[in-house]
Subunit: 133 residues, 2 copies
DNA sequence: CGGAATCCGCGAGGATACTG
DNA sequence: CAGTATCCTCGCGGATTCCG
């Protein structure tokens, strides 16, 4: 009934954990989502994502590239142009990523509610507690 | 063919992003995975996960609890015992999490290979490059 | 056994300015 | 437009210790 033993791949140190920690990152998920519909330019992602800095975008893309999930395409043109796209390996992540993002879209409000319910319940509760200032 | 516009929920600041950033975290995914099969004791998770510290485990659980994904159950017994389990809201995450972890299990090796291929291709390449020490 | 508090180092990550 | 370098700050996250 335990389900997984002490040696389960995701509970120990193994390639699986490496892969999880590669994508379980604040920006990585959103960047992958941005790439999930086809090649995108650097500047497009930058404007699209909102909140990300150029540094973090480049850094995230570079890490994904180094791990074989993203391919970089630089065109030698007058106005320099660079596009990023998922590799075949990276494309296998589209489904998991979309499940995550759809979950977030559907349940983001509920998560927010839970937070607010906490705040509304905890802070006024201090009302009937002798406050030692 | 752009697919998503400039206002896509996951590319801007919104509840969906909050939800993504809640779970797109080094430890959160693994902890949720550990909870995905039923109630687990604090100490069990600690030993099971491997690499996590008590502090980070508690901290992660607390954050998930505050966001309504996890419920805490403390039993007033001689040897104190505390169990954690997913709330109904948290249970809706099981499928996405399992897709992620199964992807990692299947492709962790490929990711590792991509990394090694880079190292093997880049560093020996310095062989035929005049190295200015 | 489970958790909170404290100390502290190091690296994530933003802002800015510069190169090609 | 894309990328890099530099600086600086904040908080992640480990180790340790004390409380219930």
């Amino acid at each position: 009934m335990s389900g997984f033993g002490p040696g389960d791949p995701f509970l120990a140190d193994c390639p699986g954990r490496l892969a999880i920690e590669l994508i379980a990152d604040k920006w990585t998920v959103v960047v992958l989502y941005g790439l999930s519909q086809g090649p995108v330019r650097h500047g497009e992602l930058l404007k699209l994502i909102g909140g990300i800095s150029r540094k973090m975008l480049t850094q995230t893309l570079r890490r994904l590239q180094a791990h074989g999930l993203v391919r970089r395409h630089a065109y030698a043109e007058a106005p320099p142009r660079v596009e990023y796209e998922l590799t075949p390996l990276g494309a296998t992540l589209i489904d998991p990523i979309h499940m995550l993002t759809e979950w977030a879209r559907a349940n983001g409000a509920a998560v927010l509610d839970a937070l607010d319910a906490l705040d509304a319940g905890a802070e006024p509760a201090a009302r009937d507690v002798p406050d030692r200032s």
